[in-house]
């Protein structure tokens, strides 16, 4: 891989993405052959925000490559509580480990941290910024189910603050994809992401109503609208209710539609969808391990 770190989706070319996804497919096909690939390697987990899936799948990925992890633990039990800067924290943990995974509530945290360390650093989410490893597993899931070229995708929910959306939309500009963004007016894509899509010449449409576009879609990527984005409880319930998917909604969809969600979901996708052929969100979550194994394998291979 050409990069020392994985910080944002903007840095990923089509070649980079295909390299990771092809390696992930190799992992999926023959996981045992990767079992001792990085024996003795230690991955540092620095999570300044809660995480279940991302943290556990990074841990599983490193262990399935034969390595191990050291975990900073929660912020409350670490030296961060004493006022240590992020720059100091990563410089210290760098000395214990061969690579770092960082999640932080502030945007640009991973970019800044990467300027203080020499080991590979992976952004596992920086506030409302980016979440590029989620994007790689999203792309892997899309490629497996619908293909990445000649793709029509709908991305729905909180597009303003949703970092998985920002990274996915940006990465999809590397492919022949038409992107339909479906959200309330107040949660439309931020200016920075619009700028990147425009600069990349992406085909982009915006909607407030999923019914306008649902029949055309190969993939529907649903995200959670968070309560705290609305000052008024009633307003939240009224708006969030318009961006929920159930069996009735999907009657207008193509039979081949793939429904995805980065999880956790609250009530954006009704449980009655889970058992249908549309539902791919648990498969998507499971893909986190082979894709992160592939990414770590490539980053560590190059830094060795």
């Amino acid at each position: 891989m050409r990069h020392d770190h994985l910080l944002t989706a903007n840095q990923l070319t089509r070649e980079d993405i295909e390299l990771v996804l092809d390696r992930a497919a190799e992992v999926d096909a023959n996981p045992a052959s990767f079992g001792q690939r990085h024996a003795g390697t230690l991955l540092g987990l620095c999570f300044f925000e809660p995480s279940t899936r991302t943290k556990m799948s990074f841990e599983a990925a490193m262990k399935r490559l034969g390595g191990d992890v050291v975990d900073m633990g929660s912020v409350d039990s670490s030296s961060v509580k004493k006022g240590e800067s992020l720059a100091d924290t990563v410089r210290v943990v760098e000395g214990y480990t061969d690579a770092l995974v960082l999640r932080h509530p502030l945007m640009g945290a991973a970019k800044m941290a990467s300027e203080f360390v020499d080991v590979p650093l992976v952004n596992a989410g920086d506030g409302a910024g980016h979440h590029p490893t989620q994007t790689l597993l999203d792309l892997y899931t899309i490629r497996e189910n619908a293909g990445l070229d000649d793709l029509t995708i709908g991305i729905m929910g909180d597009l303003k603050y949703g970092r998985t959306v920002h990274s996915l939309a940006t990465a999809l500009t590397n492919f022949d994809a038409t992107q339909h963004f479906v959200s309330p007016e107040s949660l439309k894509l931020p200016r920075s992401v619009r700028y990147d899509l425009h600069e990349a010449g992406a085909t982009v449409r915006e909607h407030t109503d999923i019914e306008e576009v649902l029949p055309q879609l190969d993939v529907l990527y649903v995200t959670r609208i968070q309560r705290e984005r609305f000052p008024d409880e009633n307003e939240y319930h009224r708006i969030a209710g318009e961006y929920q998917i159930d069996a009735g909604t999907l009657q207008a969809a193509s039979d081949d539609l793939t429904v995805m969600h980065p999880l956790p979901r609250v009530d954006e996708i009704a449980p009655e969808i889970d058992g249908t052929d549309y539902a791919r969100y648990f498969e998507q979550a499971h893909n986190g391990v082979p894709v992160r194994m592939a990414l770590l394998d490539l980053l560590l291979e190059d830094s060795a």
Binding site: P105, M107, M112, G127, S192
Partner: protein, 153 residues
């Protein structure tokens, strides 16, 4: 404009920043980090009649020759500025400002959730776009009122 009409006197050695859009002179000083504490003699003409701009500001800094890198950051707020390097009352070099690719430590990021606004040992860094600037950390784009964000600490 003749010497008699000049509202600020000629300088012996230093830099004259001319053709600054009217009202931007104080921002020019701010973006260059000149606040008088360095002891330089600074003269400012504001809203002076101009042939090419309706009105212009002029900034003269005695005893200091600004580097090209220093003046290039001026392109953010004074894209038409001309820079005259003066030695013994004569203009010995004349430059236009060029748009730099990045500006470091000059602007603060307006995004409160940007890591550069936390207590971290990092200078702000903005990529210069065709019509604005973009924080290289949080990627926020600033197009309007860039001068309001001068002060990169």
């Amino acid at each position: 404009m003749t010497d008699k009409q000049l509202r600020v006197s000629k300088i012996e050695n230093g830099t004259v920043i001319d053709h600054v859009h009217g009202g931007q002179a104080l921002n020019v000083l701010a973006i260059l980090g000149i606040d008088g504490s360095g002891g330089e003699q600074v003269s400012i003409g504001m809203n002076v009649p101009s042939d090419t701009l309706a009105t212009k500001d002029v900034v003269k800094v005695e005893g200091r020759e600004l580097s090209q890198d220093e003046v290039d950051v001026l392109s953010l707020i004074a894209p038409d500025a001309t820079i005259n390097i003066v030695r013994e009352y004569d203009v010995v070099e004349k430059h236009r400002v060029d748009r730099p690719e990045t500006v470091t430590g000059v602007l603060s990021c307006p995004n409160h959730n940007c890591i550069t606004n936390a207590d971290e040992p990092v200078e702000t860094r903005f990529a210069v776009l065709r019509d604005g600037v973009r924080c290289e950390f949080c990627e926020q784009i600033v197009r309007e009122d860039i001068a309001n964000h001068i002060g990169g600490d």
